[in-house]
């Protein structure tokens, strides 16, 4: 009846399946992207990732720019993969002005799930690198307020982002509007990727992740937001290490090596802490993050708190004195 492809991918374990996906992507690199039935004109390949490819497209009907993420399906013997169904279902329930909107979903025959998102001009990474970081203090404050609004919304629904970093913060430049993107780490993709070592992936990771704790919660996103906050002010990542161990050491140099007093439970979490890491005294955030007003520095220190149980929540952060002069009317008009 049907031309059933041999299910050779199904015989791999999840790790090898991921490698197989990469090989399939490589093989596809020269091929035209499959946007069958999506009513899109593909303009360019924007990104190649381990989960598939990202294309800049034109919506044929509206003329609007959109972003299409193409996820390669594996394990077809079980139908549409469960992680993809769960992930898309999650995205479908996120409705917030500061979260990028999933416009529609399409399935191509036996191969891809195409996710079509609204398109925004820039991401914060490019904004910082190419245009000089937002020197305007009000822009930093506005961006921070919007990021925290989106994070607070997600956390109220018990959704963690898990991969907050400047390149996942999209910007509508003309409106100074922020939208969070790339919730791909939700659910069962999350833990695998959270603990991989890739250049640049550890710079925004919370210390409880870096020391290999599997017990984490919403606080990990607040650490990431704190790193983004600092980066907007100083124009570069706060701690730029090449692996998790060195990243953790950089954090300890900055904030002081934790003790049972500063981080209750740390000796259970890291029994060999003082064997592997020198006992640093805190240099203090103020020595690195200059040009930030005192209330901003106070908020930053509450986000970059080593002890996750004492780190500020997104909801509480929105009420911090730093935001007291945010022009709420202008925010609402965005």
């Amino acid at each position: 009846m049907w031309n059933e492809e041999s299910d050779w991918i199904g015989s791999f374990d999840s790790q090898l399946a991921r490698l197989a996906e990469c090989r399939m992507c490589s093989r596809d690199r020269g091929e035209r992207p499959d946007a069958t039935g999506m009513d899109l004109e593909v303009l360019e390949v924007a990104e190649e990732g381990s989960y598939g490819r990202v294309f800049r497209c034109l919506d044929i009907h509206t003329g609007a720019l959109v972003t299409m993420k193409q996820i390669t399906m594996v394990r077809l013997s079980q139908g549409v993969p469960a992680p993809i169904i769960r992930e898309v279902s999650l995205l479908k329930e996120l409705h917030h002005a500061n979260i990028v909107k999933l416009l529609r979903v399409g399935l191509t025959e036996n191969r891809y799930v195409n996710l079509v998102f609204e398109h925004l001009d820039y991401d914060l990474h490019h904004f910082i690198v190419n245009r000089g970081y937002p020197k305007d203090a009000l822009t930093v404050k506005s961006f921070m307020y919007q990021i925290l609004s989106a994070v607070a919304y997600c956390h109220s629904l018990k959704v963690l982002h898990r991969d907050l970093k400047p390149s996942n913060v999209l910007i509508d430049h003309s409106k100074r509007l922020i939208k969070l993107a790339d919730f791909r780490l939700a659910g069962e993709f999350a833990d695998d990727l959270l603990y991989t070592e890739k250049l640049g992936t550890s710079w925004y990771r919370a210390p409880e992740i870096l020391c290999d704790s599997r017990q984490y919660s919403t606080q990990i996103d607040l650490w990431s937001v704190g790193c983004i906050f600092a980066e907007m002010v100083i124009g570069q990542p706060l701690v730029q290490a090449i692996n998790c161990r060195d990243e953790l050491e950089g954090i300890f140099k900055l904030l002081g090596t934790p003790t049972e007093e500063t981080w209750p439970g740390i000796t259970k979490l890291m029994p060999n802490l003082h064997i592997y890491y020198p006992k640093f005294d805190a240099l203090g955030l103020e020595t690195f993050v200059t040009d930030l007003e005192p209330s901003g520095l106070n908020l930053l220190s509450m986000m970059l708190c080593l002890d996750p149980s004492r780190r500020i929540s997104a909801e509480a952060a929105l009420k911090h004195a730093y935001f007291i002069d945010v022009n709420y009317v202008s925010l609402l008009l965005l």
Partner: protein, 315 residues
């Protein structure tokens, strides 16, 4: 059940308070549209076909958590509402049943054997074996019709919220009440009539029904707590309660093979709603449980039309 998007339909937990408005605001997106019931009422054939597919799903799910068939049947109803009525072909109904079951199992992270599913579906009639790609195509069609919104807020999502309103201190009693309400919700889904009501209304009505059976003396307090909830329409809860009552009684009578009598029991919910209204009109402020019990005794005493006490248990 918890409104935890990353673990939809996971274990019972208390809801975070700030998530409640979200639940009530968007629950209508996860049920068939209002005209779905009317379209079924127009045709006995359609009702029997739905019942057959529901039966197929129940067969597939008989060894799994009861929430799985609930979710699968929710997908079925939302699909039918979107795609129109079923074809009168047994194989198409089976394919749809398998696909809804499969999607629900994936959302719930439930492992199942595709081979066992095929065997169950073909038990006794030597029907077609579906290729994996056929099932995948059907899954894709269902996903598209439901716009990939597989999260499906169900009555189970609201039970913890309402139980918290009841202020039962004993965790064991809370669990008994939750289990009773869950059983009622699962039973009532089989009937098309319940689909007219929002999940929150079904949850409230099922809890009231269960509390009336399990905790008759505390029932008036529970009723007041539900009535005072600003997210709930009281009149709709009355209607839904009556539907649940009819369904439960039908099942009870069919088990005992008792002929229905012309003597309809007094509708307890109506009486208590009237009683509450009367209290409000009289300017009564706070009624303690003891006072309430005393009042009922007084009412029973000397009122010839009052139902005898034993009737509260619907025996």
């Amino acid at each position: 059940m918890d409104f935890d998007l990353e673990n939809p339909l996971g274990n019972f937990h208390d809801l975070p308070c700030d998530a409640v408005p979200s639940l009530f605001l968007i629950e209508s997106d996860h049920i068939p549209p209002p005209n779905y019931c009317q379209s079924f009422k127009a045709s006995d054939f359609d009702i029997s076909v739905r019942r057959d597919v529901v039966s197929l799903i129940s067969q597939l799910s008989c060894t799994f958590d009861p929430v799985l068939p609930y979710l699968a049947i929710n997908y079925l109803d939302r699909f039918l509402a979107h795609q129109g009525i079923l074809q009168p072909k047994p194989w198409a109904n089976k394919l749809l049943a398998i696909s809804c079951f499969s999607l629900a199992a994936k959302m719930l992270k439930t492992e199942y054997s595709a081979t066992d599913v095929q065997v169950l579906m073909n038990h006794g009639d030597g029907g077609a074996i579906f290729e994996a790609q056929t099932i995948q195509r059907m899954e894709g069609i269902v996903l598209g019709a439901l716009q990939w919104r597989m999260r499906s807020i169900t009555p189970f999502s609201f039970i913890p919220f309402f139980v918290n309103l009841f202020r039962l201190k004993d965790p064991a009693l809370r669990q008994v009440l939750k289990d009773g309400a869950s059983e009622i919700i699962l039973k009532s889904q089989r009937e098309i009539k319940v689909l007219e009501f929002k999940p929150s209304t079904v949850a409230a009505s099922a809890l009231l029904y269960a509390s009336h059976e399990l905790f008759p003396f505390q029932y008036p307090c529970f009723l007041r707590a539900i009535s005072d909830c600003s997210y709930i329409n009281k009149e709709t809860v009355v209607q839904c309660y009556n539907v649940i009552h009819d369904i439960t009684r039908e099942e009870y009578e069919s088990v005992l093979n008792i002929n229905s009598t012309s003597d309809t029991p007094v509708n307890v919910l109506d009486e208590h709603f009237l009683s509450l209204e009367s209290e409000k009109t009289n300017g009564t402020n706070v009624v303690t449980q003891e006072q309430d019990f005393k009042r009922r005794k007084t009412t029973d005493y000397g009122n010839n039309r009052t139902v005898p006490f034993s009737h509260f248990h619907q025996c």
